[in-house]
Amino acid sequence: MTRLERREAIAFYLFASPWILGFLIWTLGPMLASLYLSFTNYDLFTPPQWVGLQNYTGLLTSDGEFRSAMFNTFYFVIIGLPVNLVLALATALLLNERLRGITFFRGLYYVPTLVPAVASGVLWISLFDPQYGVLDAILRVFHLPSIDWLADPNWIKPAIIITLLWGVGGGMIIYLAGLQNIPEQLYESAKIDGAGAWSRFFHVTLPLLTPTILFEVIIGLIGFFQIFDQIYVLTYNHPGEESITFMYYLFQTAFGSETNQMGYASAQAWIFFVIVMAATFLVFKTSARWVFYEGARQ
């Protein structure tokens, strides 16, 4: 290594030091610590007690609340995420039109994503009200029986997905950017080759959008696996077995109850971490087959 190279390397480590330190203090250290804690009982006050695999076996075999949390979380990921992705794409296609006033509509569709989850939750409690809410008013117009969205175990999960769909603009705007990156010439040449509208959508638009779709699936997976705010607000901090999510259960175990069960919570975190990573890995692994990279390069 020459003197200049060494100087550059030292500069690199100085400039990167905030993140390197941060990675050690806030990521790697805590990850290892939580792995260790997951094999202990720890309440913050008395030293951790080694219990071996007890936390894990307890969670996986005899904890009904954990099972509910798992089930509900998977419900949100498997149903909520695809609906969200499709709706985001549909609105993006609509807003990609060059029409007068389209900028206004883009802003309007996007604004709900900026509403903090707690504020939006409160608003939706009012909209979902079984007696005086808007949704109930709509049902009444069609002479349908009213639904107690938030109290009925069958409707609470769809209700939470609806509140999340109000914020579909976040995904939409990223699709919109992806759509605007598709060169117009591709459509022109497809047209000359005799491709119809549907054929152009499936053979030009969709393939060129797959990198954006992959990005949204990855981001969406993490987001939907971590649903918490809406649960806390829409159930008034008292979710039942039909609405508790993984993140809420972890919160309750570690911080919510009178005893802080840090070991048990850490075991939950690790089980969940493995699941989320496996899902993300699976998506990446299959992406080679459905993501079209060639044309996306400019």
Partner: protein
Amino acid sequence: MSLTRPVTAVAREHVVTPRRGLGRFLRPGTLYLLLILGGIVFGFPFYWLVIGSLKDQTQYNQFPPTWIPNPVHWQNYSTLFQLLPFGQFLVNSAIITFFVVIGTVASSALVGYAFARLRAPGRGILFGLLLGTIILPSEITIVPTFIIFAKLQWINTFRPLIVPAFFGDAFSIFLVRQFFQSIPRELDEAAMLDGAGYFRIFWNIFVPNSWPILATVAIFAFINTWSDFFTPLIYLNNLSKMTGAVGLAFLNVEHGGGSSQVTLQVMLAGSLIVMLPMLVVFLVLQRYFVKAITLTGMK
């Protein structure tokens, strides 16, 4: 994975080619109808929020709903501020957000420069780790992080929320790094020939030429911090320290418990107060928001 130059959603609007996208299937009239229907779905909740926060109990309990409250019942807002110190909550949110934005922008710029320009053994591995942390679910670190702050006696201070921001945020670092790489190398080489050190180059060449990306990072930090609920919820439980979101959630639990004072109208007033700063900032900086968000459209 690479990032494009800033792509603005508005840039190409002036070009008139009427029949593309959905326009190949649908007439403009149908398109407008769909746009307006969607506009109602996305916009109506805001209208409902405003009128709901201005109704008294009788007006609220009417069917069909009262669309324009008369008389206007402003008392919900005064009740809100009497029940809980919402002014203080908003100040707390603003303080935390301010420092997080400063910390994130400063640290991400420094680290982004290192990854964009400086060569060193181990840089590739570190960059891989950086990308990995972008998709790392936060729950895996929550418990030990909480223990650290509890041992430091930092519970019920703003420090657990502010201090980590000064260590850089992986996604922001990534964005800055991509942008810095697009700055021509001749600029730093020329400066180096003039005897400028790395920090001078960073400060005099990279920072002044990168305000769009730094603004983007700042906007993201602002949105995420103002809206954040989980982190302030676990660290701040003292009434004088709560943020707007935590205070509103606290009041909401009272409302759910059947408190007669905390009516749904008061809750709606609180909801509006908590979201208003975000909406105002959005309306003022709308162009930059769109730029910032589309900038993350990865390909």
